[in-house]
């Protein structure tokens, strides 16, 4: 069990969500309200441990009186607001956004993407075979993780996790503009020449699999990655006194990757290079 620290009591805001009067603590987003009401709104760039950039726009909802749709992940519930999550207009935007994403990037390792594409009747193929794609080759410049930007939806999560929201290392940023924008190190240098400290916190937050452990990347390429067959065991990192929680993903009795529980109030899913990648000694069998 993880301890959840108590917050000071907050006032409640009352507003209308899909026709029902809803009360949420002040400061809650529309998405928070939807989730506590059991509504499933698709999200990609939203992350439980980061301030969302609201860049992907798959979570848009209709707020009465507003000229445009609002991102549920970032717009805070205001008293008296009337919000509809399932209008034709909102569904249309989600559908087209999914089409735009799926036609330009590889969503094959994005959890739930296929499900949403089906749910919203999205047809990414209708922009034609010549529709411009991101077209990036996987970058393999170190032994620990692979950057496959063909799968990147530019959610900014890795940038925020590496930068001021968690790691404070600032090894990567968005470079270029528009359709040519990419996540990049300075002058596109290899990660090993950059400020990267290989904490892997960017992999932890990446919603698409654009950033992945080399183990996972290689096993996927070899066709041996079998997620349903994996077990997950959360334990305590044994390296230093901080005592971070690590979750070991094990397939065929081998650790294949390490994540960290996001609801841990101390680490929020962050680890350092040792906890994240230093597991080989555990499975060195002579």
């Amino acid at each position: 069990m993880t301890a959840v620290p108590l917050q000071p009591p907050r006032r409640l805001v009352s507003f209308t969500l899909d026709g029902s009067e809803t009360r949420v603590p002040e400061g809650s987003t529309i998405l928070d309200a939807c989730r506590s009401a059991g509504k499933d709104i698709p999200t990609l760039c939203q992350g439980d441990t980061l301030t969302p950039k609201n860049a992907c726009r798959v979570c848009v909802v209709e707020v009465e009186g507003a000229r445009t749709l609002a991102p549920a992940c970032s717009r805070r519930a205001e008293p008296g607001m009337t919000v509809r999550t399932d209008t034709e207009r909102a569904r249309h935007s989600r559908k087209v956004v999914l089409e735009l994403l799926a036609s330009s990037t590889d969503l094959s390792t994005t959890p739930r993407a296929a499900e949403w594409i089906k749910e919203y009747d999205a047809e990414p193929g209708r922009f034609g075979a010549d529709a411009a794609r991101v077209n990036e080759q996987p970058r393999i410049d170190n032994d620990l993780y692979v950057r496959d930007y063909d799968k990147c939806i530019l959610c900014y999560k890795c940038v925020d996790a590496c930068g001021e929201q968690w790691q404070n290392t600032f090894a990567i940023a968005v470079a270029g503009r528009g359709f040519d924008a990419r996540i990049s190190t300075e002058h596109d240098a290899p990660l090993t020449d950059s400020a990267c400290v290989f904490c892997g916190n960017c992999i932890e937050v990446c919603p698409t699999g654009a950033l992945s452990f080399s183990t996972e990347f290689d096993m996927r390429a070899a066709g041996t990655w079998d997620e349903p067959a994996q077990t997950q065991t959360t334990t305590v990192c044994a390296y230093c006194g901080v005592g971070c929680n690590v979750t070991l993903h094990v397939q065929d009795n081998e650790i294949v990757k390490v994540t960290s529980p996001h609801d841990n109030p101390v680490t929020h899913g962050n680890l350092c290079i040792k906890g994240r990648f230093g597991y080989q000694h555990v499975q060195n069998r002579v």
Partner: protein, 635 residues
């Protein structure tokens, strides 16, 4: 912060360029070549100090780019050390702006406008001719490289070209704001020896590229005002008749009476006048200026900032350029009044990077206003401290969006922020900020000089005062026109000399909409254009006759938005690409052959309008949609 720099070292020139902006490095920690004993005992800087100087990033990138022509790894490294900025972030910023290059390029860069007004007046042929003479766009030859460019804001003299040349400033001319330029003489731009060619011919462009110093002088700002000298003019009254470099001329034609009146009224009184005058913003969004000021003034958090939006990159817009070049003191006086009203001590002019002459004129005007106590710690001896700084943009239309300006000034990528919170609450540096367009600000002068009632007597009930229109394209007398609100499109075109066989008028710019020649009765007011399903936008009136191939113009509009999207949100980043692709597919098709792609564009367009973060994505589809619906382009 874990900052890590590479070993790449700056050249002496790059170092000098940065040091001329930031001064010599105070210690080895900030990039001095030698570490002293003291440096080894003291670490200065750190995250807090760094945040203080991050806003010098854009000026520092300019310093190097202006001097060397591009930003090398060593130069970027040195800038990062000096400002304690992570190199990856600085690289992200440098690659955001079109005027910067992170790969080597020649010292002379020639920008040839291929945007709407220039396309309508022969930029296609000009580019073809240039390609014959200088080689294909983008390939360096003879120490120069030419490239196609979005609107340069010289639409009245289309087709236009701008030559920027890098290099050390000539001896004795270190400071741009130094010697006052004479009234309408060509001035050496901040990019050194820049030449402005408009209208441009291929031979003239080639000659100017070889010998920029011999390029012909640019016509004075007043040449853009066909009505110059007309006693009915309010905002344009000085342009073309008064020396823009002379503060005395400015004062002798009524300059600084509005500021005196402002001091007599007090800040709340100024806001009341502006509210009563019914002034509405001229930057495109048509927001009531008085309400914006009031909301900023009321914020408890401080300091408050004033930002003048002089980014003017909307294709077809050039009014702010003419105001700044022809009457720079008017902008400075009105900013002083606005700053006083909202309680700001610091104002920024965010000026688009491609306006060297406006930069020159404003720098000079600021320096002389400071000398005469009209800016500084005690403006006019009234105990009000106010000063203005110019920030040069670097080629990004999106930086005209109000929150993108903040990011740009702060040294971040010029990406818009999501609203709420609104700028009046959390703007520049997270503080309450009022952002106003140049033309909006200049309107404050007649309001205070003659009073709100007199001002509101001109125009209609909800559109008060006069409006500047940027008329370009196939008219006999392109330029800036000033008309009282209420005049209609026909009246305006009568002044400019309409073409015989008019095909369409683009109203409000690339983010506006097309209207037909049988719709010239549309009143040019905020409410009138809205009722007609279009917009005044930034005052663009681009007139096209039937020699223009509309599908190509639409393609150019789509290309513009695709190029200028910041890339932050999916509907705009990918949607603009899909729209351009669809327009390409149907460029020579009509009827059933185009129907499927038109339907596709409508679906994408609706999503861009509904779900984009900022106005760029939200309006990118407007003009094309209006061409389909009102002009029946692909029928």
């Amino acid at each position: 912060m874990d900052l890590r720099y590479t070993d790449a070292a700056p050249t002496d020139t790059e170092r000098a360029a940065v040091d001329s902006l930031l001064g010599p490095p105070p210690s080895g920690w900030e990039g001095a070549e030698e570490r002293t004993d003291e440096d080894l005992r003291w670490a200065r800087g750190g995250a807090a100090a760094a945040r203080d100087r991050r806003d010098q990033l854009l000026p520092a990138l300019h310093a190097v780019n202006d001097r060397v022509g591009w930003i090398s790894e060593g130069a970027l490294n040195y800038i990062c050390r000096r400002l304690t900025v992570a190199p990856a972030e600085a690289y992200g910023v440098a690659t955001f702006y079109a005027m910067f290059s992170v790969v080597p390029r020649p010292a002379k860069v020639l920008h040839v406008c291929t945007d709407l007004a220039c396309a309508a007046r022969g930029s296609g042929a000009l580019c073809a001719d240039l390609a014959d003479r200088l080689g294909p766009a983008g390939t360096p030859a003879e120490g120069a490289v030419w490239q196609e460019s979005p609107c340069l804001g010289l639409c009245e003299r289309a087709p236009a070209a701008l030559l920027l040349q890098t290099g050390a400033p000539p001896a004795g001319e270190e400071s741009v704001a130094g010697a006052p330029p004479a009234a309408d003489e060509p001035v050496a731009g901040v990019f050194r020896c820049s030449a402005v060619l408009a209208p441009a011919t291929a031979p003239a462009v080639v000659t100017a590229t070889r010998a920029p110093e011999a390029a012909p002088a640019e016509p004075p700002a007043g040449a853009a005002v066909p009505q110059a000298g007309d006693p009915g003019l309010v905002l344009l009254k000085r342009i073309g008749t008064v020396d823009p470099a002379s503060l005395d001329d400015y004062r002798s034609t009524g300059g600084y009476t509005a500021l005196r009146r402002a001091f007599a009224l007090g800040p709340a009184g100024v806001i009341r006048e502006v509210l009563d005058a019914g002034l509405v913003g001229r930057g495109g969004a048509a927001f009531p200026t008085g309400r914006k000021w009031q909301a900023t003034a009321q914020q408890a958090d401080g300091p408050h900032y004033l930002v003048c939006n002089a980014d003017e990159s909307e294709p077809g817009t050039f009014k702010d350029r003419v105001l700044m070049e022809g009457d720079p003191y008017a902008l400075i006086e009105s900013m002083t009044i606005a700053g006083y009203a909202i309680g700001a001590a610091h104002g920024y002019i965010y000026l688009r990077g491609e306006y060297p002459r406006a930069y020159e004129r404003l720098s000079h005007a600021l320096a002389s206003a400071r000398t005469r106590g009209l800016l500084g710690p005690d403006v006019l001896g009234q105990g009000y401290a106010f000063d203005i700084e110019i920030r040069r943009g670097a080629g990004a239309y999106i930086c005209g969006e109000e929150t993108a300006i903040f990011n740009s000034i702060e040294g971040q990528r010029g990406e818009p922020r999501s609203k709420p919170p609104f700028p009046v609450e959390k703007g520049l540096f997270g503080k309450p900020t009022a952002v106003n367009n140049v033309e909006t600000l200049v309107n404050v002068l007649p309001i205070l000089e003659h009073g709100a009632a007199a001002y509101a007597a001109t125009g209609t009930e909800t559109s008060t005062g006069t409006k500047l229109f940027c008329v370009s394209g196939q008219v006999a007398r392109p330029g800036i026109y000033e008309l009282p609100f209420g005049a209609n499109l026909r009246d305006l075109l009568a002044l400019a000399g309409p073409p015989e066989r008019m095909r369409a008028v683009l109203l409000g710019g690339a983010a506006g909409g097309f209207v037909r020649p049988d719709e010239l009765d549309i009143p040019l007011t905020f409410e009138g254009t809205r009722a007609a399903g279009t917009t005044l936008g930034s005052g663009v009136v681009l007139v096209l006759d039937d020699s223009v191939e509309l599908p190509r113009i639409l393609l150019r509009i789509a290309e513009f938005f695709r190029d200028e999207s910041c890339g932050q949100c999916v509907p705009c980043r990918v949607g603009t690409v899909r729209q351009e692709e669809a327009l390409h597919r149907i460029v020579d098709r009509t009827g059933a052959g185009a129907a499927a792609d038109v339907a596709l564009m409508r679906e994408v367009g609706q999503t861009m309008r509904d779900a984009s973060i900022c106005g760029l994505g939200q309006t990118a589809w407007n003009a094309v949609e209006s061409a389909i619906d009102r002009l029946g382009v692909y029928k």
